[in-house]
Amino acid sequence: MSARSPRAGTPRDEVYRSEAPQHSREGRYSMSKFADLTVPAPTPTGETQHFWDALEDGRFELPYCTRCETWFFYPRAMCPTCWREEWRWRPASGRGTVAGWSRVHRPGHPAWAAAAPYLLAVVVLDEGPRMLAHVLEGPAVPAVGSAVRVRPTAVGGHVIAAVAVEEAS
């Protein structure tokens, strides 16, 4: 893994810090309604640990294949396009667009019931890959096509790549 820009050498992306009022610690957001939730935590593997470590530090990094010059998500052993292992972690913009959304009133996992209703979305990241994201409550509600931005957010004892809807400028 040494060729894949170790964590210490990755620049911190300024975009994700100190913008929102719920800012709690450098680079992270904490939603009050999530503070006491004990919900299923991420289950990192050797292939993915760096993603979660970076997120803890407020950085949103994705695997980037230097051979076919594509980003991919989720992290995995090899690039799903060219099947080579010539990829590295690279800070991503954190910007994306909503492809589909849902306001969950009855969560599939009982531990999330205390936070319901809440918003989820499938986000197409500007770099190309898609990911599922919790959508933070804010003045703007998501619609298909809404611009969103990643906000590393503390939920219980861990940090997830939640997103917030960008207000129309």
Binding site: V39, P40, Y74, G100, V104, R106, H109, W112, A121
Partner: protein, 401 residues
């Protein structure tokens, strides 16, 4: 499969389905499968000793490995071809083409396909340790409802369709369930307004747009068309065979977040392949037995099958009588929205309804072609979150009114 396009690739000579129930107590998956298997063999006029091929779905919470051996032992069978088919709701249709291929390869003669599940009080939670568990579940996205809600919101945005357009599909399913005494919602119709008034579970999906989970089990017996003809000639088949003319399968992703599209799914290529093998198309269908775990899945399936243009599903329904009395019937048994979904057996129940319609055993809801010629059915199965798709084209030998 090596048979020429437009010809029978296999024959379904027996089907069995347990009446769905909301709950079970002390049931086992294998026990339910065994009872469905007996119904199917009785229906085919065969004995257990005739079975030499066995396909089954996963046995969640019971048998993680050695499933074929465990189930064969339980049933007292010694198959010469046996395997698990693990395609979620597409499992049943996926078994049927695999049975045909297994028979064509000379590996078995009579293949029994079994899928079902119990609903005992202790729910089985998924022991997943895989990407969907790592990257989707921590956001609060457990279960399928939110994923299908993404589909509906994307579909509505793409086509400007209204909530009532989707709700109508659930109301039709409930209406058709009134012709099916085995349906979980027999005696409980729902109007379009009832569907719209039902609470949001995962907005924009209402409660009545989502299948009711039930317990049940399904079984299908598959033989070669030649063997079916020989059995029929000997007077040994209680019912006319129903023929598999074409099949298609496609697996594109697991998590909805990784789906290549939210407005068209893997059913599109699967159906296209099934049409090509069967030498038919959307205009050649009489019976549509389409997987309908959520209203939006029916909308997408009609589009992906070429039955209506993208976004045109509401108009398609509005222009015709899709009950068993109409020219083309849609889920005359009520579909899963009317019957309930016995988990992985959902797709197989659509195949079984098509078999009943094509051979004339759909009591009280029998569809007929006006010209009396054999009817053709499209059967679809959909697994996980529009991830695993199987389509079958089936044809009967003619049903007289």
């Amino acid at each position: 499969m090596t048979r020429p396009p437009g010809t029978s690739r296999a024959a379904i000579i027996g089907v069995g389905e347990l009446t769905p129930v909301r709950r079970t107590e002390g049931a086992t998956t294998m026990g339910l499968l065994a009872r469905a298997a007996r119904l199917a063999l009785d229906d085919a006029g065969l004995e257990p000793g005739d079975v030499d091929g066995l396909f089954m779905g996963p046995q969640v919470g019971e048998t993680p490995q050695h499933v074929p051996a465990t189930l064969a032992e339980y049933l007292g069978l010694a198959p010469r071809a046996a395997n698990v088919v693990d395609l979620g709701g597409a499992t049943g249709p996926g078994m049927i083409w695999r049975a045909a291929a297994t028979i064509d390869a000379g590996m078995a003669e009579t293949v029994l396909c079994l899928v079902g599940n119990h609903r005992n009080p202790e729910p089985v939670r998924s022991p997943n340790r895989n990407p969907i568990r790592e990257f989707d579940v921590p956001h609060g996205a457990s279960g399928a409802n939110a994923s299908y809600a993404f589909l509906k919101s994307a579909h509505m945005a793409a086509h400007g369709t209204a909530d009532a357009d989707y709700a109508q599909i659930a109301a039709i399913s409930r209406a058709h369930a009134q012709d099916n005494p085995a349906a979980i919602f027999h005696g409980t119709p729902a109007t379009l307004q009832d569907v719209l008034d039902s609470p949001y579970i995962a907005e924009p999906l209402h409660l009545l747009e989502i299948v009711m989970p039930v317990a049940g089990a399904t079984a299908v017996v598959v033989v070669s068309p030649e063997r079916a003809a020989a059995l029929a000639a000997d007077g040994r088949l209680p019912h006319p065979p129903v023929h598999l003319l074409g099949a298609g399968e496609k697996v594109t992703h697991r998590a909805m977040s990784q789906a290549p599209s939210l407005t068209s799914g893997p059913l599109r290529p699967a159906i296209a392949q099934a049409y090509a093998q069967a030498e038919t198309g959307p205009g050649g269908l009489d019976v549509l037995s389409l997987y309908d775990c959520y209203t939006v899945v029916t909308a997408l399936t009609l589009e992906d099958a070429g039955l209506c243009p993208p976004g045109g599903f509401a108009r398609w329904f509005g222009e015709r009588d899709v009950s068993h009395r109409g020219e083309v019937t849609y889920n005359p048994h009520g579909g899963q929205l009317g019957c309930g979904q016995a988990d992985l057996a959902g797709g197989m129940s659509h195949a079984i309804e098509a078999v009943h319609q094509l051979r004339g055993t759909a009591r009280g809801r029998q569809h007929h072609r006006a010209d009396g010629r054999p009817s053709t059915a499209l059967v679809t199965g959909n697994g996980a979150t529009l991830s695993e798709a199987v389509a079958l084209v089936l044809r009967g030998e003619g049903v007289t009114a």
